[in-house]
């Protein structure tokens, strides 16, 4: 593992993004904030989401942040190998580093945007509960899941660009099937299997439980998503290893 290379590429990823913009890195916070405000305004009127333990904007934001992290990472990963094609075909580097730096840069965005959540919670006087330490294991599993899927997407997109178009489409559907703008309980229980097989639904529901309700996450579903993440991660590494020798020829 070449950490210096990973850090340098992550820095490049972050620095290049908002150069030559007046507000610069503030966009990282302004973006999700604007999205949250607009969605909170609309959906609090359309959806009769009641008996939440916290104000709807905060409830929404805790779903939106991890979702944006996932979707943003997947979209960026699709381009992470192709975008560095010049390097991949000329110099030998541990090739996964391009995917890893893409993910790390998005995580930096995530934590900056999460600072805003802390401010909101103080503002709305939401009590911070000790179960919040569960955030870290949940986040770890989400990262593992994201990493595995990102490797697969980056690899396949290098050979077939259809992947990136298919991805945009799938992400949109996936978002509606994930309890982001609504709570899981919004659906009758015979639909709940849909959320059980969707790791993102498990993560977001778990974040809300540990942050808002002071409960520990549903261990059984969290464990299932850990197993799913591990299987995807293992599979992704096999695929990557098998195909990486042909990257330079396919680019």
């Amino acid at each position: 593992m070449n950490w210096e290379l990973l850090i340098e590429l992550t820095k490049r990823e972050i620095k290049q993004r908002y150069k030559q913009s007046v507000l610069g890195y503030a966009w990282v916070i302004l973006n999700p904030l604007a999205q949250m405000l607009a969605m909170a305004f609309v959906f609090s009127r359309i959806l009769p989401v009641s008996n939440l333990s916290v104000p709807y904007p905060i409830f929404l934001y805790v779903g939106l942040l991890p979702w944006t992290l996932l979707s943003g990472t997947l979209v960026a990963s699709a381009n992470s190998l192709i975008g560095n094609g010049k390097l991949l075909t000329k110099i030998y580097l541990p090739r996964k580093v391009f995917i890893q730096s893409t993910i790390l840069a998005k995580m930096v965005d995530f934590f900056l945007a999460a600072l805003l959540l802390v401010i909101f919670m103080v503002f709305f006087k939401v009590q911070i509960k000790p179960t919040i330490v569960w955030f870290f294991p949940i986040f770890f599993i989400q990262s593992l899941f994201t990493y595995g899927v990102s490797i697969l997407i980056a690899t396949f997109n290098l050979f077939y660009r259809d992947v990136q178009y298919l991805l945009n489409f799938l992400i949109m559907i996936w978002m509606y099937l994930t309890p982001i703008i609504y709570p899981q309980s919004f659906f009758p229980s015979h639909y709940h299997w849909l959320f059980a097989i969707n790791p993102m639904a498990v993560f977001i529901t778990s974040y809300r439980r540990v942050i808002f309700e002071g409960l520990s996450p549903d261990l059984w579903s969290l464990l299932t998503s850990l197993v799913v993440s591990l299987v995807i991660f293992g599979l992704a590494n096999l695929v990557f290893k098998k195909l990486e020798g042909r990257f330079a020829d396919a680019l």
């Binding site: 290379l5 290049q16 150069k19 010049k86 000329k90 110099i91 030998y92 077939y160 020829d249």
Partner: protein, 248 residues
């Protein structure tokens, strides 16, 4: 030949697949109709060479003879289908200069980024930072984004980083010198210095003068076949003959 080699290529072949269909939309119907979806051909066939430490080695051949493919396999970016490639020491590619540069970053930031991409540690780059800047003659512009550089300045900086990585093996694809005449002379002198210091050099070029001036042994490739390996003079004679027969 001393027994210590820097690059040993044994029975290396490379099979290329040319996919005829580039999207799933094209691929699926072709696949279902049982049409052949890919064509395969040997880009390189049973190559055997051993390059000694400190040797300067050339690779020549017409377009499509497999020169650059071989260089890519030595660099480790492309995998051989058969055979083995052993490399002793650190490789620095002097190819596609500035591939790791980012236009929005300053010259200084790009030196660090590119240095690390080429395999240096941060500490090592710090140590030779002044030398790199001095060689590039860009000290006045080093804190400006490289997008404001002229193309000549850009190449000079990229070249300076690449040449200062202290490699054991230098891979050169056509580009030996960049910039104006004075700077080009400086580049060539630097390559000569490295040769004297015992750095192994592999040059791929169409320019017979460069091959003659810088190498002692040459591999001649023709359509992926190893036609000849030997002293530069003989190899270039054979190469000239194959060019003539190609023209006819």
């Amino acid at each position: 030949m001393p027994s210590k080699f820097s690059i040993k290529i044994t029975n290396v072949s490379k099979l290329f697949h040319r996919q005829n269909q580039y999207t799933i939309k094209e691929l699926l119907p072709a696949f279902l109709r049982g049409k052949q979806t890919r064509k395969s051909f040997w880009a390189l066939n049973k190559i055997n060479i051993k390059i000694a430490q400190g040797e300067s080695f050339g690779i020549v051949g017409l377009n499509g003879s497999g020169k650059s493919t071989l260089l890519k396999m030595i660099a480790g970016v492309s995998e051989q289908t058969e055979g083995s490639i052993e490399v002793n020491g650190r490789i620095a590619p002097l190819i596609e200069l500035g591939a790791g540069f980012h236009p929005e970053l300053t010259g200084r930031e790009n030196i660090f980024l590119n240095g690390i991409i080429l395999g240096l540690k941060r500490k090592e780059i710090k140590e030779r930072f002044d030398k790199i800047v001095e060689f590039s003659e860009l000290d006045k512009f080093i804190d400006q984004p490289v997008k404001h550089y002229s193309s000549g300045m850009y190449l000079r900086l990229a070249y300076s980083v690449a040449i200062h990585t202290d490699p054991d093996i230098l891979l050169i694809d056509e580009i030996l010198a960049v910039g104006d005449e004075a700077f080009q002379k400086k580049c060539l002198n630097k390559v000569r210095d490295l040769q004297k210091q015992g750095v192994s050099i592999v040059i791929v070029s169409h320019d017979q003068k460069i091959i003659r001036d810088f190498t002692t042994r040459v591999l001649l490739l023709e359509k992926g076949e190893q036609i000849f390996v030997g002293p530069t003079k003989q190899a270039l004679e054979k190469y000239s003959r194959s060019i003539e027969s190609g023209v006819k």
